[in-house]
């Protein structure tokens, strides 16, 4: 991307939440924190100073499968940054005297999340949707965090931090051959290890309610859908675009704009490598919550009833504009390449994706949604009163 002044890297290792023992919820996140508390020649504060002086805008965190590090910077800092991140991944000090600080930090993050009603709803929804292991919180559990020892940190690091299956993607104002040499020098002789596939999703239809004296009733809902790597994914995604992408999408138009039922109503696709789902949320005052849920579910189930070509066309323009504008950001290109690499085994080019989007027809959406109708809803609400859950014909029959 020679038109940019920046470069970005995304480093992803198979050391995510699904590798935690059930009793140590939060371990992968704490290891991610601990390895950044000093590595190679740098102590904890020196590491931050080195990153700041290179102008690195950074983030890190764990997800179900991965621990991920993202770094965007002026392109002349890239070589040093690759070597710095190799130190973090390969030569962390894991200082025992900082374990309690890291533990307290993890507890703080977990508690703060508890005060976000939307987070509580979506968190529980994810558990109901994917089951115990794939539905785990990235923030862990209070008990788990309290139980973690220095030995647990070291064991998890030694078992799960290695080159096998790891993905380093780089985008921006770079010379590809040069960058590959730098990566080879930094990571080429790293040890290999064992890869553990994700377990299968294990969710079932269910409804749960958290009682709270909140101003709004917060409604989360989910149903099964194909993941990104599935050949039908973009047929699902186009249907979801018509439902919930943009201000003329059906949920925004029919739940918010026409009826004034809520400020936020949204639904989108979520993918793991081996399973996926549609997750949605609406927040509304308690007296209108039942109507909001009913109207929202009805709109989802009636997607095919009055599909128009103009709806598909609008979604295509939105996606294609997004793809073109992605060329303005090295960080967003690096992260989508890493994601493609994991989900598909190779990065998709912008042109390839554009062609795929352009080829979609209304019948593709009809075929996918008829063969895979939304059902077995997982629903979670938080508010003063529980709601009555609509029973779709399919789930009643079970």
């Amino acid at each position: 991307m020679p038109w940019l002044r920046t470069a970005a890297l995304s480093l992803n290792l198979h050391a995510g939440v699904h590798r935690e023992p059930a009793s140590l919820g939060g371990l992968s996140g704490m290891v991610c924190e601990m390895i950044q508390r000093g590595a190679g020649q740098y102590g904890s504060r020196d590491l931050v100073a080195a990153q700041d002086n290179l102008g690195i805008d950074r983030n890190s965190g764990v997800s179900t499968a991965f621990v991920s590090f993202g770094a965007a910077m002026p392109s002349e800092s890239l070589k040093a940054a690759i070597s710095l991140y190799a130190d973090i991944a390969r030569k962390p000090h894991l200082p025992q005297d900082q374990l309690e600080d890291a533990r307290m930090m993890a507890v703080q993050e977990l508690r703060a999340m508890q005060d976000e009603p939307t987070h509580r709803v979506m968190r529980r929804l994810r558990e109901l949707h994917y089951g115990e292991i794939l539905g785990r919180s990235n923030y862990g559990t209070e008990d788990g965090i309290q139980n973690i020892t220095q030995e647990d940190i070291r064991d998890f690091y030694q078992t799960n931090y290695h080159a096998t299956g790891g993905i380093l993607s780089i985008a921006g104002k770079v010379d590809a051959a040069e960058v590959i040499d730098w990566a080879e020098a930094a990571f080429g002789d790293w040890k290999t290890g064992e890869l553990h596939e994700l377990p299968s999703p294990q969710g079932t239809a269910s409804y749960e309610h958290f009682e709270s004296a909140s101003s709004q009733t917060h409604i989360g809902f989910a149903f099964d859908a194909v993941p990104y790597s599935h050949p039908d994914y973009f047929k699902l995604r186009a249907g979801m675009g018509i439902l919930s992408d943009g201000m003329s999408s059906r949920l925004f138009d029919r739940v918010r704009e026409k009826r004034g039922l809520c400020y936020t109503v949204t639904a989108s696709c979520h993918s793991l490598k081996n399973g996926g789902g549609v997750f949605g949320y609406a927040g509304t005052t308690p007296e209108r919550a039942q109507e909001t849920l009913d109207v929202t579910i009805r709109e989802i189930e009636n997607l095919l009833a009055d599909l128009e070509i103009s709806e598909l066309q609008r979604w295509k323009v939105r996606i294609e504009s997004g793809l073109i504008m992605e060329q303005e950001s090295s960080a967003s290109r690096a992260s989508s390449m890493a994601s493609d690499f994991y989900q598909l085994g190779r990065p998709m080019t912008t042109v390839e994706l554009e062609t795929l989007i352009e080829s979609l027809q209304l019948d593709d959406i009809r075929n996918y949604w008829s063969a895979n109708p939304p059902q077995d809803y997982r629903i979670v609400t938080l508010g003063p009163n529980p709601l009555t859950i609509p029973e779709s014909p399919e789930s009643t029959a079970v």
Binding site: N53, A112, S248, G260, M325
Partner: protein
């Protein structure tokens, strides 16, 4: 290098653009001098309510037409309201410039239909309820209300449930005519744009704007009273919050103050996430979830905010620690390597920001609206490079204080902090 161009149309509307033909996108925004500080009590929340109504139809387009056309143009579009301005913006591919400008400009002549007004009132009430449930449970609004007083800069942007429930569409029409006058508005554009075509098109589309009916200035509110629905209590009780949320506010530099760059650097040295004085003492050690501070510049005033989230039982000791760090900085200043680190970070940040026209739009539009001033990325980098330790230490003595207005939101049984 990007080129800056600007003009003022015969009706008073200003156009300001940073043009870069290499861009993949073009960003446009109408910046209007209409914010909560321009409202009187019975108009409380109106700037923001009006922002919503701008998407609800014109003489030429229904509400559904507006949303549909925005989506047809693909990019990202939205609007926001602050204490001082309302902004309507979109980023699109350059080929859509003409259609987008036609649409955005038309949106700024809304019909303000009564039925749409009644439906949208419900959405605003939902938005207020949504924020009531979210941390920090109104603590920032309360801090502004107590510090600046509940009117002017301290007036809350969303209004109150009471003011929105009783709002009348006629009041909104008067407010619109008073604030949405061409001399109060800037059209800003950044990225790959055709400036001459833009000016010609807007000139033609906004001919009627200067004929908007004059609207009388409303009578001011009674001095010393508190508007209905507003409380100035420093303690907010949140029924089942696990954490305590502390917000402090004190004076800071305004957007025209020469101190503002040094003060931002000071904020970064003291409060940046991931490596700053407060970070190392309070976050890295796990004492608090958030412990930070930053300056916020308004047109002719400024504020320093401090913000801390932690367990209620630790709030008192953490607050003391934060005050010690502040006092130590006032007394003993900063280190050369801290300034170097902060400036490297800020310089890289400015370069990265400059790559997206959508990021550049807001700074350029706001600055032209309030100060008629343009700052290129290189100008901003020069300002950063010229900051000295003395500037930062002077700013610390001038603006840091341990005597801020403080608001705390926490559960009823949380221990006191004083």
């Amino acid at each position: 290098m990007p080129e800056f161009r600007e003009t003022t149309l015969s009706n008073g509307l200003r156009v300001a653009a940073e043009i870069d033909g290499r861009g993949y996108s073009a960003a446009f925004g109408y910046f209007v001098r209409a914010g909560s500080r321009d409202e009187v009590d019975r108009e409380s929340g109106l700037s923001h309510f009006l922002e919503h109504m701008m998407f609800k139809g014109t003489q030429l387009r229904s509400a559904a037409d507006v949303n549909r056309e925005l989506d047809e143009l693909g990019g990202q579009s939205n609007a926001y309201t602050s204490e001082e301005q309302t902004v309507y913006y979109a980023t699109v591919l350059p080929k859509f410039q003409d259609r987008l400008i036609n649409l955005l400009t038309d949106m700024l002549s809304p019909t303000l239909d009564e039925n749409e007004f009644t439906t949208e009132r419900q959405v605003i009430l939902e938005e207020i309820a949504k924020y009531e449930d979210q941390p920090p449970f109104g603590a920032f609004e309360r801090a502004m209300e107590v510090h600046f007083g509940p009117r002017g800069l301290g007036r809350r942007i969303l209004g109150t449930t009471e003011s929105i429930k009783t709002m009348e569409v006629g009041t909104m029409r008067d407010y619109f005519n008073r604030r949405y006058r061409p001399e109060n508005i800037v059209l800003a554009a950044t990225g790959n744009i055709d400036f001459d075509a833009l000016v010609a098109q807007v000139d033609q589309l906004t001919q009627g704007w200067s004929q908007r009916p004059e609207s009388a200035t409303p009578t001011s509110d009674p001095d010393g009273s508190v508007p209905s629905g507003i409380s100035l209590e420093p303690r907010i009780v949140t029924s089942d919050a696990q954490q305590a949320y502390l917000v402090g506010i004190s004076p800071g530099p305004s957007s025209t103050s020469d101190d503002r760059y040094a003060t931002r650097a000071l904020g970064s040295i003291m409060g940046d996430e991931g490596g700053s004085r407060l970070f190392w003492e309070l976050i890295d050690s796990g004492r608090a979830e958030v412990a930070t501070l930053w300056p916020h510049e308004f047109m002719n005033e400024g504020a320093w905010f401090t913000y801390m989230i932690c367990a209620p039982e630790d709030a008192k000791s953490n607050r003391r620690l934060m005050q010690e760090i502040i006092q130590n900085t006032i007394d003993n200043g900063i280190k050369a390597e801290e300034l170097k680190q902060t400036l490297s970070k800020a310089t890289a940040g400015a370069i990265m920001q400059s790559e997206r026209p959508s990021n550049r739009l807001f700074g350029i539009g706001s600055r032209w609206l309030t100060c008629r001033e343009y700052l290129s990325t290189d100008d901003a980098l020069d300002c950063l490079r010229s900051i000295t330790i003395e500037d930062v230490e002077k700013a610390a003595k001038k603006y840091l204080t341990t005597d801020a207005t403080e608001i705390i939101a926490a559960a009823e049984d949380a221990p006191a902090i004083h």
